[in-house]
């Protein structure tokens, strides 16, 4: 995956670029808004990581300019402003996701990969997700594993749906809170873990292969263990 990091703080940029490369991605760096805009409009990137406060051209203007040009590369906004309405402003400017500084790298990586994946999946939104012998029908709201129906609460269904949409990818706790519950605050306690473990009990109990995995220090992933 090809990622452009537009970030003026050299240390932070080096940290992100290095870690992205370690995770197996191609990562470029632009030190200011103008440079970033030029590189983003020329290069064929899968995801842009844009800092909000940039010299020469600020982050939101970079995104707006790109969108105006018809460049729809998904953008993850990084910001030291973690306030409630800053996120709204960022997303309104054309950003696709928002991450407040400071952040854990696992969080950044998970979000970048989710954005890239969303781009690929956008063309054909499937109505049925499949992971191993687990099947989720988004229209009939039916979940089956090995042809056996599993009854889920509405929230559990949305949780599983989000995990399966990002199958094979790490999703973090905050991503789950944002996408399943639509809250962006820090829950501080293990509320998400409890929900996932309940879902896991329904999905994996009595089956030889576990599909929902805990990724230490990062979050969760649903994948076909056999593969």
């Amino acid at each position: 995956m090809k990622i452009l990091v537009i970030e003026d703080d050299a240390d932070a940029a080096a940290f992100i670029v290095k870690a992205l490369r370690e995770a197996g991605h191609v990562a470029d760096h632009a030190p200011d808004g103008l440079d970033g805009y030029a590189q983003a409009s020329e290069g064929d990137y899968d995801v842009l990581v844009v800092d909000r406060m940039l010299p020469k051209l600020d982050g939101l203007s970079v995104i707006r300019s790109l969108r105006e040009q018809g460049i729809e590369t998904p953008v993850l906004i990084l910001s030291a402003l973690g306030q409630v309405d800053d996120r709204v402003k960022g997303l309104r400017a054309g950003g696709d996701d928002y991450l407040a500084k400071p952040f854990a790298f696992s969080e950044l990586l998970a979000r970048v990969e989710a954005l890239a994946r969303r781009r690929v999946g956008q063309a054909s939104e499937q109505t049925v997700y499949r992971v191993g012998d687990l099947e989720l029908d988004r229209l009939s709201h039916k979940v089956t594993r090995a042809d056996e129906e599993i009854v889920l609460q509405p929230r559990e269904f949305r949780l599983l749906e989000y995990l399966m949409r990002n199958a094979g990818q790490v999703v973090t706790r905050t991503m789950l809170l944002e996408n399943v519950w639509d809250y962006h605050f820090d829950p501080q306690t293990n509320v998400i873990d409890v929900h996932v473990s309940r879902l896991r009990a329904k999905i994996d109990k009595g089956h030889e292969t576990a599909l929902i995995h805990t990724v230490r220090g990062a979050g969760y992933m649903i994948r076909d263990g056999a593969r």
């Binding site: 973690g82 306030q83 409630v84 309405d85 400071p102 519950w181 809250y183 820090d186 501080q188 409890v194």
Partner: protein, 474 residues
Amino acid sequence: MTALGKLFRTTAFKLSAMYLLVFVLFAGFIIGYVAWNTRQVIDNQIRDTIAAEIRGLEEQYRVGGIRRLVSIIDRRAREPGASLYLVTTFAGEYLTGNVDSVPLDILDRPGVHETFYSPGDGTEAHAREAMAHVFVLPGGFRMLVGRDVGERERLDQVIREALLLSLGLVTVLACLGGWFITRRVLKRVDAMTETTRTIMAGDLGGRLAVAGNGDELDRLALNLNAMLDRIGELMTGMKEVSDNIAHDLKTPLTRLRNRAEEALRTATTPEEYARALDTTIEESDNLIRVFNALLTIARLEAGDAAPAAAPFDAAETARSVAELYEAAADEAHAPVTIDIAPDLALPVNGNRELVGQALANLIDNALKYGLPEDADDAHIAITARREHDGGGREMAVISVADHGPGIPESDRARALERFARLESSRTKPGFGLGLSLVAAVVRMHGGTLSLEDNAPGLRVVMTLPLSPEQEATA
């Protein structure tokens, strides 16, 4: 600045100068008006006397011609306090009368004149004033009948003197009064200025003297004192916050630093290093949380920078947050009951995210501090309903209640303060920002927050005003 210059600039001086002017003009007008009217009355009286005199003489003339007229005038002129008479030939030769001479041209012009004359006793020449009616009689005889107007002139003189005297008196009195009042007021204002100067120099405990007579200066002093009290409160609050920040942020920072140092000194295996780094990251995450909470509270309390409001359903927010925490509470063996009618809608204009976070904080608090000693009693109740407040407004009332130790009534106000950790919770993790964030969110939405006794336990009740336009359509 000289004392006099200072006096001239004072408002009190300007005011007394203006009063002085008004009084002088007024006194002048009154006296002038009286003088003018008196003069008119006297003039009319003189005119009437002359006219009566003439009517009498006319009759005599008609009966006995010029000779009778002359003899009558001759007799009348000799009476004391008499009018003035003069009869001359056409050439101006004296025939009779008690007037020695008048300006010659007067006699040639019939009618009423004001003129000088010399009395018949020959004492003064043209020194006295008179009002005279001149006639030309057949045969060219001239007759003058008049009255001395010296009395009128003397009255004028008296009035002029009275005017001058009263003007002088008014001026002196007004000046004295103005000076006295100005000095009195100036002294108090100077005292106030002096006090404010010492307050500005750092003595925040100083207060302005209040005379107790309830005048304008007293009211000003009272208001300034009230303002100083408020400033003092705010300063104390600020100082408390900064003391708290110093203490509550330095403590975890110190812990963080100590752990890192200890790991450097004692760790030998990669696993030990990794563990030390893990705790370091965990501790810094906690610090970031504190910073975020502090920033959010500060921003909400600043008011003007509050996030844009949008309509949302507080009942849905309460349901979803309750449901979010339900599983975790079950794990903590604290069953949750959610009492929110399924069809209840609570349209509130505000920020769903913040209200959600406030509710999450309340439930989180209930899980952290609201668990009773006897674990079987643990229970958390979340309710939401619509209620009318005293003023007939519809309110969204959301409460979170637990069965824990509760908060004694005396501590409830303090529990909402930043970094407040009640004795009972000191041993548990937390920074004492949860409830103050809730309080700030509720304030931002124009609602109220109350801590109540759940007997046993604590019940926190958030009351938010419903948005009126939504209500109409609901």
